[in-house]
């Protein structure tokens, strides 16, 4: 009979060692957890320059001493799910800070917390209403015909719709983890949303509760998000920096506003169920969202391991639009990693700054027309390479 060779003594020794370490960790963790923790997020100063209903616009003060300041202001439109504070999570992981340091005049939409009264607001109210008013406000304030627009996730979809409907007001478009083609089975969200009874949900809740959506997101990977994440926390709870970052992230994740019912209904019906946007068949306020009319330069970021908006949901956009200056960048990370991971901090925001700077001039569209670039880049290294186009300075007033 074969005898098994279980190193019982070694296992017991390790267990004793682990127990001792755990004891030490717990006593140190008590000090950390009971001590003063710096868990504030979104601490970069800003002014509220515009307010309409629940919606506000933040204006950040850029570094006026930065070299090659950009002439065209940038408006960032976040999703209606979670909050825009993610772009300014902490000083050393802040997309906002990178933009300001690079000389971008930055505006950001804060969608606020929808109340029961907002349940009837549609995508059209957000895109042709709030967004259009905000963009007009920035154009008037800066006396410029066009602004740069950057959209995140659902905010990216809104930005695509807006740019197709108002191409005369958008100079350059940056989309990040933006779902535009919903007909894929790669992401579980796409699978589950196809048969969801959206009418029942809206009848039940009015607006879709943020907590319900968060529960749905946790259920996408319970092993990692409900077990391993907290095991990781227990293992590092004696590390002050780790605890602070962890709590900050928790604060951001679970700070989830409700989504206006009618907006959610249209996003699910026209997006997840009928996939109208990418086919240029979606209608907003009676006008068709024709992607061929999206003619401004387009930079499209997405995450290779994004489990919420998989690459297949993002990478069709550049092929569907009318613009000839398009670029896809697939980063080897997930949905949130693009913005918050230390590694991608070094390549995401700097790439956008560089790309916008190259197109900050007057006749970039004409240059793009001649060069006709369509590129797909897969990156896990900091951006160094330039697109090769000659940026022209100056601004039409």
């Amino acid at each position: 009979m074969d005898s098994t060779k279980i190193p019982l003594d070694l296992i017991l020794e390790k267990m004793a060692e682990d127990a001792e370490k755990a004891q030490q960790r717990v006593s140190k963790a008590a000090e950390v957890l009971q001590g003063k923790l710096y868990t504030e997020l979104a601490t970069t100063p800003y002014d509220i320059v515009y307010e309409e209903d629940r919606v506000k616009v933040k204006h950040y003060t850029r570094n006026e001493n930065a070299e090659n300041k950009l002439n065209v202001p940038l408006l960032v439109v976040y999703a209606l799910i979670n909050r825009e504070t993610m772009l300014d999570l902490q000083p050393d992981r802040s997309v906002v800070k990178t933009f300001l340091e690079s000389g971008i005049d930055l505006y950001m939409v804060d969608w606020g917390y929808p109340k029961r009264k907002d349940r009837f607001l549609t995508i059209n109210d957000h895109v042709n209403g709030y967004m259009n008013n905000i963009i007009d406000f920035i154009r008037e304030k800066h006396n410029v015909p066009k602004v740069n627009l950057m959209g995140i996730c659902m905010g990216g979809s809104f930005s695509v719709m807006y740019s197709a409907l108002h191409p005369d007001k958008i100079k350059n478009l940056v989309t990040t983890v933006t779902p535009s083609s919903f007909d894929t089975d790669k992401g579980l969200l796409h699978v589950w949303m196809k048969d969801i009874d959206v009418d029942g949900l809206i009848k039940t809740y009015g607006n879709i509760p943020g907590d319900l959506m968060n529960l749905g997101f946790l259920l996408l990977n319970p092993a990692r998000l409900m077990i391993d994440k907290y095991v990781g926390f227990m293992e590092n709870m004696d590390n002050k920096d780790f605890v602070e970052n962890f709590v900050r992230m928790e604060r951001w994740i679970f700070d989830s506003p409700d989504v206006p019912g009618e907006t959610f209904r249209q996003f699910v019906e026209d997006g997840y169920k009928k996939n109208l946007l990418i086919q240029s068949k979606m209608y907003l306020g009676g006008s068709r969202v024709d992607l061929k009319k999206l003619t401004m330069p387009l930079l499209n970021f997405y995450g290779e391991y994004d489990h919420l908006v998989p690459p297949e949901a993002c990478n069709q956009l550049t092929k569907a639009v009318g613009s000839k200056d398009v670029e896809d960048i697939c980063l080897e990370t997930g949905h949130i990693g693009i913005y918050v991971s230390s590694k991608f901090q070094r390549m995401f925001a700097p790439k956008i700054v560089q790309w916008l700077r190259e197109r900050d001039g007057d006749d970039v569209a004409a240059v793009a027309e001649k060069t006709k670039t369509r590129r797909t880049v897969k990156k896990n290294q900091p951006v160094k390479k330039k697109t090769g186009k000659t940026p022209k300075k100056g601004l039409r007033k």
């Binding site: 074969d2 098994t4 060779k5 279980i6 190193p7 070694l10 296992i11 020794e13 390790k14 267990m15 682990d18 002014d47 509220i48 320059v49 515009y50 307010e51 309409e52 029961r116 009264k117 349940r119 009837f120 607001l121 209403g129 008013n133 007009d136 406000f137 008037e140 304030k141 579980l188 699978v191 589950w192 048969d195 969801i196 009874d197 029942g200 949900l201 009848k203 039940t204 809740y205 009015g206 259920l219 996408l220 990977n221 319970p222 092993a223 990692r224 077990i227 391993d228 095991v231």
Partner: protein, 303 residues
């Protein structure tokens, strides 16, 4: 009193007819139960036969004893009439037994499947028969009571309360089923983990560090969840639980609405109607502003 008188008095006392009657009743009762409804109890037949055989023996013994104590046989007319009573009870009991046993048997049959081992990483045709059985029983035996049409002035209120209770029960079953499905990967991951450990132990490669073991188990668990989430059964269960939850919430809101109407407070329905009107009115104002060339930013820009 002579010894014979005493005997006669003793024989005529009610104790012996009662004993006879009681024995007969239990004997008949025994006959009406499983053996009387063979179709109902087939799966448990072997186990029940043992039980009934024992009961039969005891009752026969008791009968012989009562006969021995009552040599004259044949009691009074009153005792005869009393003997008819058990028959009536028996008829009633038989119907009750059949229904109860049918439910119990249905449940036992389905519950038996829960214990069956399912294949690792496979989540098609999940073992949810117990929940289907519960649903069937609920729909067949209980739900009908909530569907009895209420009458009178308060009929609509009663109807809504019934609907609320009914939807609550349906949701509870769906939730139990969903939670059971969510628990399955945990169970399966432990099985696979144990098998893996066993195989590694046989090769003498068992990880000594707790962390390694944890990482191995977590990977297995994650794999199981991924497979589960891709299965059609899971998607169906997810939609079912959401749908039943929505139905329950709508029924609950409607019941609450009835109660709130009795109080001097505004209900959500009233507020929603008002919000809708307000929303439409605002849109009209915006259109008018546009026609008049008034920029919305004139008012919205912060000074």
């Amino acid at each position: 009193m002579t010894e014979e008188d005493q005997k006669a008095q003793f024989n005529e006392s009610s104790i012996f007819p009662w004993m006879q009657m009681a024995t007969d009743m239990w004997m008949n009762m025994a006959k009406t139960m499983p053996s009387g409804s063979p179709s109902v109890l087939n799966p448990q037949a072997a186990l029940q036969n043992r039980y009934w055989q024992q009961l039969d023996t005891h009752l026969n013994l008791f009968k012989s004893f009562s006969k021995m104590m009552n040599p004259k046989e044949g009691g009074s007319a009153a005792a005869g009439a009393a003997q008819a009573l058990p028959e009536v009870f028996l008829k009633i009991a038989k119907t009750g037994f059949d229904t109860a046993l049918q439910i119990q048997n249905h449940l036992l049959e389905k519950a038996g499947k829960i214990g069956k081992r399912t294949e690792a990483y496979k989540f098609d045709n999940l073992d949810q028969d117990i929940f289907k059985a519960l649903n069937e029983i609920y729909e067949k035996e209980i739900q009908q009571y909530f569907k009895i049409p209420p009458l009178g002035l308060t009929r609509f209120y009663q109807e809504r309360i019934n609907e609320f209770l009914n939807k609550h029960n349906i949701f509870e079953t769906a939730l139990a089923e969903f939670l059971f499905i969510l628990y399955l990967p945990l169970e399966k991951s432990f099985q696979v983990f144990q098998e893996k450990l066993k195989a590694m132990a046989e090769e003498g490669k068992i990880p000594t560090a707790t962390k390694e073991n944890y990482a191995m188990w977590l990977k297995i668990l994650e794999g199981h969840y991924m497979n589960l989430f891709k299965s059609a059964d899971y998607t169906e269960a997810l939609h079912r639980v959401l749908k039943n939850f929505e139905d329950f919430m709508i029924a609950r809101n409607e019941t609450m609405h009835d109660y709130l109407q009795m109080l001097p407070v505004v209900t959500t329905k009233d507020i929603d109607d008002l919000y809708k009107e307000f929303y439409l009115l605002k849109k009209r104002v915006q259109e008018l502003e546009k026609m008049l060339g008034i920029s919305p930013n004139a008012m919205n820009a912060k000074k």
